[in-house]
C-alpha cells in the first residue's frame, strides 16, 4: 500500500511538472507585467462586452458540438459493432477517417467541396439554374458542421471499444427478465458505456473549446475565445492575449470538473467477464440491404473531403478553376515528393516523433490507470484531472508554454533547454495526447474485473508479469483505440509543431504550410494524401478487434 502511495505522488508530480507548471508560468503573466503584479489587464478584460460575447460563444458552441457529435457517433458505433452486413469491416475503419483529415489542406478540401464555388455548390447551382451555390459556408452553423464532422469520431471509437467489452450475458439476462430491446439499451447497455461516452464527451468539449481553425476560417465575424487570443497576439497586445488564454483555461477547468462530477469514478466491474455479443447477421434481405446502403452512403459523405483532396493532388497547377470536373490529371506532385530527399525527410520525422510521443502517452496512461482504478491511490482524482488538463488550453498556448519553460537552464526548478533539440516535439506530442490515450485507457480499466488481477497475483505472478500478461491483453481494444487516435493526431499536428519545430525535426504539416505559402496546392495535397494513408493504416489497426 505504501508503495502505491509513493508512486501515486511520483506520477502526480511528473504530470504536474509536464502540464500544470508550463501553463502556470504563462498564466502568472496575466497578472504581471514589467512593473510587477497588476490587475489592470484582468479588469480591462472583465469590462469588455466583446470578450464576454466571445467567451459565451466558445461555451455554447462547445456544448452544441458535444451534443451533435454524440448524436452521430454513438448510433454509428452500435451499427458497426452490432450488425453484420457486407463491407462492415472496411467501412467501420473508413468512418473513423475524419479524425485524420490533414491540417491546412483539409480546409482547402472543404473549400473545393462545399465552398460557394465548390463541387457540391456547383452541382446544386446547376440544378437550380444559378452559377454558384445558394449558400455560403460561414458563421456558427458552418463551425458546428465542421466540429460535428471531425469530432464524432471520438464517440464512435470510444463507444465501439466499450461495446466490444460489454458482456452478452447481461443483455440476455435483461431480455429474459422481460425487458424490451429498447429498455435494455437504455437501462443496461448505455449505463455500462458511461465511462466511454463520458470520456468522448470530455474530449469533444475540450477539443471544441480549443478549436481554432474552424472558427477562424468559417466563422466570419463570429468571435470565439481562441480567435480573440490570436487577434490580440497579432495586434501585439500580449497582455490581452494572456488574459484571454487564462480565461479560456478557466472555463475549460470548470468544464472538466463538471464532467468529472457527472461521470463519477465508479468502475463498472461487471463488464468484461463474458464475451461480447456477436454481431447480428442481418438475414432479412430488406434490412440487410438498407443497412448496407445506409453504411455506404454515410461513408461516402464522410469521405468526400478526402476524395476531394486526392483529386486536388492529381491535377496540374491552376487547371481546375471554373469547371465542374478537372480537365487534366498528373502524377507530377507525387513524383516531386519522391524525387527530392529533402521533401521526403519530413515524412520520416513525423512518423518517428508521433510514434515516440504516442508510446510515451500510452505508458503514462497505463501507469495512471493502474494507480487510479486498480490501486485507488489517495491522489487518484487529482491524477485523473491532470491527465485531462492538456486539453484545457489550446495547442498553441501549450506549445508557447513549453517553449517558455524549456528554453532556460535551471535544473533546480525543473527547467532545461529543450527548445531547438530533437526531444521537444515528441515531448509536446506526448503531453498533448495524454488526454486522448488516458480517456480511452482509464475507461478500459474501469471495465476490467479486479478479480482477474487478484487471481494472477494469487497464482504467484509478479507485478510486471500481471501487467504484461493480464492487464495489457485485456486492455487491447482501449490501448489500440487511444493509441491510434493519438498517433494520427500527432502525425498531423500543426498548432504545436509550428511553434517548436527546427530544421532537423520539421514535420509534414510544416511542409504543407510551406507548399501552401508557395501556392503549390498540388504538392500540399499530395503530402496530405500520404499523411491520410499513414493515419488511416493506424486507424485500421486501432479499430481491429
Amino acid at each position: 500500500m505504501n508503495r502505491g502511495r509513493g508512486t501515486g505522488w511520483l506520477l502526480a508530480l511528473i504530470l504536474a511538472w509536464l502540464v500544470v507548471y508550463p501553463i502556470a508560468l504563462v498564466v502568472i503573466d496575466s497578472v504581471k507585467d514589467d512593473s510587477g503584479w497588476t490587475t489592470q489587464y484582468l479588469t480591462a478584460f472583465l469590462s469588455d462586452s466583446h470578450e464576454w460575447g466571445a467567451l459565451w460563444n466558445s461555451v455554447w458552441l462547445s456544448v452544441a458540438s458535444v451534443a451533435l457529435a454524440g448524436t452521430i457517433g454513438i448510433p454509428l458505433a452500435f451499427v458497426f459493432e452490432r450488425l453484420e452486413f457486407p463491407g462492415r469491416r472496411i467501412l467501420g475503419a473508413l468512418v473513423a477517417l475524419p479524425a485524420v483529415l490533414p491540417p491546412l489542406v483539409g480546409v482547402i478540401a472543404f473549400l473545393f467541396l462545399y465552398g460557394e464555388t465548390g463541387f457540391v455548390g456547383r452541382v446544386v447551382g446547376a440544378v437550380m439554374g444559378t452559377s454558384q451555390a445558394p449558400w455560403r459556408l460561414r458563421g456558427w452553423g458552418a463551425i458546428l458542421l465542421v466540429h460535428a464532422y471531425s469530432m464524432y469520431v471520438y464517440f464512435y471509437l470510444f463507444t465501439r471499444a466499450g461495446l466490444a467489452k460489454v458482456d452478452s450475458s447481461m443483455i440476455e439476462a435483461a431480455h429474459s427478465l422481460g425487458h424490451s430491446a429498447r429498455s435494455t439499451l437504455f437501462k443496461v447497455t448505455l449505463p455500462l458505456l458511461r465511462p466511454q461516452i463520458g470520456a468522448a464527451a470530455l474530449l469533444t468539449f475540450m477539443t471544441a473549446l480549443g478549436s481554432f481553425s474552424a472558427p477562424y476560417i468559417f466563422g466570419g465575424g463570429f468571435r470565439v475565445m481562441t480567435t480573440q487570443i490570436v487577434t490580440s497576439k497579432l495586434n501585439g497586445d500580449i497582455h490581452a492575449s494572456v488574459v484571454e488564454t487564462a480565461a479560456l483555461a478557466a472555463v475549460a477547468f470548470v468544464g472538466l470538473v463538471l464532467f468529472r462530477r457527472y461521470q463519477g469514478t465508479r468502475s463498472v466491474a461487471a463488464v468484461g467477464k463474458g464475451t461480447p455479443p456477436t454481431a447480428r447477421t442481418l438475414v432479412q434481405p430488406l434490412a440487410r440491404w438498407s443497412a448496407t446502403a445506409l453504411g455506404w452512403t454515410f461513408a461516402v459523405v464522410l469521405l468526400l473531403p478526402h476524395a476531394t483532396l486526392l483529386l486536388v493532388s492529381l491535377i496540374p497547377v491552376g487547371t481546375w478553376t471554373t469547371e465542374l470536373f478537372p480537365t487534366e490529371y498528373t502524377l507530377g506532385n507525387y513524383l516531386a515528393l519522391a524525387a527530392e530527399p529533402e521533401r521526403l525527410r519530413p515524412l520520416v520525422n513525423s512518423v518517428w516523433m508521433a510514434a515516440i510521443g504516442t508510446l510515451g502517452a500510452l505508458a503514462l496512461a497505463l501507469w495512471a490507470g493502474r494507480l487510479v482504478v486498480q490501486k485507488r491511490v489517495t491522489l487518484r482524482k487529482h491524477i485523473e484531472t491532470l491527465t485531462s488538463l492538456p486539453w484545457a488550453v489550446p495547442g498553441t498556448v501549450l506549445a508557447i508554454a513549453l517553449a517558455t519553460t524549456f528554453s532556460v537552464r535551471a535544473p533546480w526548478v525543473g527547467r532545461w533547454v529543450l527548445v531547438g533539440t530533437l526531444a521537444i516535439l515528441p515531448l509536446a506530442y506526448m503531453i498533448r495526447n495524454v488526454p486522448i490515450v488516458a480517456g480511452s485507457v482509464l475507461a478500459g480499466f474501469r471495465q476490467l474485473d479486479p478479480a482477474l488481477d487478484e487471481a494472477a497475483a494469487s497464482l504467484g505472478a509478479s507485478r510486471w508479469r500481471t501487467v504484461l500478461r493480464v492487464t495489457v491483453p485485456l486492455l487491447r481494444p482501449a490501448l489500440l483505440a487511444g493509441g491510434a487516435l493519438a498517433f494520427a493526431t500527432a502525425l498531423g499536428d500543426f498548432v504545436t509543431s509550428v511553434v517548436l519545430y527546427t530544421f532537423d525535426t520539421r514535420p509534414i504539416s510544416i511542409e504543407i504550410l510551406s507548399a501552401l505559402r508557395d501556392f503549390d496546392i498540388g504538392i500540399a495535397a499530395a503530402y496530405g494524401v500520404v499523411l491520410m494513408l499513414i493515419s488511416a493504416a493506424a486507424m485500421v489497426v486501432g479499430t481491429r478487434r
Binding site: H50, V107, I108, L111, G115, E116, T117, R138, G139, Y216, I217, G220, G221, V230, T231, L234, N235, G236, D237, V317, G318, T321, T322, R345, V348, N349, V351, W352, A355, I356, L359, I400, A403, T404, S407, V408, V417, V419, G420, L422, V498, V499, Y501, T502, F503, D504, R506, L513, S514, L516, R517, D518, F519, I521, A524
Partner: protein, 343 residues
C-alpha cells in the same frame, strides 16, 4: 518494436551532418528564392550547409523571440521593416552595416544599423485576367469603391498580413493628412468592407478564391502576382496612380547567432549586385540598391521602376499606432460595411 527501432536508426543517420558547417536562415521568401540563395552561397562556400526554414515574417519574429535564450537561427532574411524595428527594440538583433549599405536609400536603413532593406515590395491592385480586361480594372485605390465592384473584392485577413496592414495604414495616414483625424480613413475602410466578398485566411486561400472567381479583384503585393503569372495563372496587376506603399524588405543578423562570420558573409552576398539582378530576373523582387544598372533589370522591373509612384509613408507612425488602428477596424468595421462579407 523493430519497426520503431529501424525508423529511429534511419532518422539518426539522416540527422547526422555531412561535416559542413550549418548556417540557419529564417525567411518568408519561399522555396524559389531560398533555394537560389542556398545554391549560390554554397557554391562560394563549399564547407557551408545553408539550411532555411520558410515561414511568415510575423512567425519569424515570434520564433526569434521565443528562442532568445537559445537562438537557433543566424540570419533573418525578409519581412517588412516595421517587424525588424520591433525586433531591434527588443534587442533581438545584432548591428551590422554591410558594405552595400550606402547603395540603398537612407529610408531603407534600420536605426542603429540593425537591419537594411534588400528588396522593395510595392502593393498593387491585382485581378483575375480571365475575368477582366486591363481597361476595366480600377487603376487607383478610390476606384475600387465604385458600386460595380460591390461583392467582387477579396481581401486577405488584414490582422495576419503585413501587406494588408501597410495598405490599411496608408488609407488612415491619407485621412490623417487630409483631415487631421482617423475618422476619414475608417470611413474609407468601412466602404471597402461593404465591397468585400470575403476575407481570406491565408494567401493560398486568397489565390484560390481569385482563381475560382469568388471575386475578381484584390489588393496584394507585386512579387506574388508575377510569380503566379509565370506559373500560367490568369493574374495581373495595376500600379495605383495616386501612389502605393512600398514595403522595405529587410535582412538582419540574429543576436546570439552561432555563426556570425558566415551570417555576415550571407548578408553581403544577398545585397551584392550580382544576386540582386539574379533575384530580379528569376524571383520578381525589385532590388533596393539604386546602383543596379537599369539595363540589367528585367522588363517588368524597368516598367515598375518607371511607373511606380511611391506613397510617402510615416513608418514610425504605422509601427506605433498600427495595432490600435487594426484593433478598431476589427471591432467596429469588419463585417459592418453594410453589404458584403459578413451579412
Amino acid at each position: 518494436m523493430r519497426g520503431i527501432r529501424t525508423v529511429l536508426v534511419a532518422t539518426a543517420a539522416m540527422a547526422c551532418s555531412d561535416g559542413r558547417e550549418p548556417l540557419v536562415i529564417y525567411s518568408p521568401h519561399g522555396r524559389g528564392l531560398l533555394t537560389l540563395a542556398e545554391r549560390t552561397f554554397e557554391a562560394q562556400h563549399p564547407d557551408v550547409d545553408v539550411r532555411w526554414l520558410d515561414m511568415g515574417s510575423q512567425d519569424v519574429l515570434d520564433r526569434v523571440k521565443s528562442e532568445r535564450a537559445n537562438p537557433q537561427s543566424d540570419v533573418w532574411f525578409g519581412g517588412p521593416s516595421y517587424l525588424f524595428d520591433q525586433a531591434a527594440s527588443e534587442s533581438l538583433l545584432v548591428a551590422y552595416r554591410p558594405t552595400w549599405a550606402d547603395s540603398i536609400p537612407t529610408r531603407a536603413w534600420g536605426a542603429g544599423d540593425f537591419y537594411f532593406a534588400v528588396y522593395e515590395t510595392p502593393a498593387v491592385i491585382a485581378y483575375n485576367s480571365d475575368a477582366l480586361t486591363p481597361d476595366q480594372v480600377p487603376d487607383d485605390w478610390d476606384l475600387v469603391l465604385e458600386p460595380r465592384w460591390r461583392d467582387q473584392i477579396l481581401i486577405r485577413d488584414p490582422n495576419a498580413s503585413g501587406t494588408m496592414r501597410t495598405i490599411f495604414g496608408m488609407v488612415i495616414q491619407r485621412g490623417l493628412r487630409a483631415t487631421g483625424d482617423t475618422a476619414a480613413g475608417y470611413e474609407w475602410l468601412r466602404r471597402l468592407d461593404g465591397q468585400t466578398r470575403d476575407y481570406a485566411i491565408n494567401p493560398a486561400m486568397l489565390h484560390q478564391k481569385l482563381l475560382r472567381r469568388e471575386g475578381v479583384l484584390t489588393l496584394w503585393e507585386l512579387p506574388d502576382i508575377l510569380t503566379e503569372q509565370r506559373k500560367g495563372n490568369p493574374f495581373d496587376f495595376v500600379l495605383p496612380t495616386s501612389g502605393t506603399p512600398v514595403i522595405e524588405d529587410a535582412i538582419a543578423i540574429v543576436r546570439g547567432a552561432k555563426r556570425p562570420r558566415l551570417a555576415r558573409a550571407f548578408v553581403e552576398w544577398v545585397g551584392s549586385i550580382e544576386f540582386q539582378i539574379m533575384v530580379a530576373q528569376q524571383e520578381f523582387r525589385l532590388p533596393a540598391r539604386l546602383d543596379v544598372p537599369f539595363d540589367s533589370l528585367p522588363d517588368w522591373a524597368q516598367k515598375v521602376r518607371t511607373e511606380m509612384v511611391a506613397e510617402p509613408m510615416d513608418w514610425g507612425l504605422l509601427s506605433r499606432e498600427g495595432a490600435a488602428w487594426m484593433s478598431y477596424w476589427d471591432r467596429n468595421i469588419r463585417g459592418r460595411g453594410g453589404t458584403g462579407a459578413q451579412r
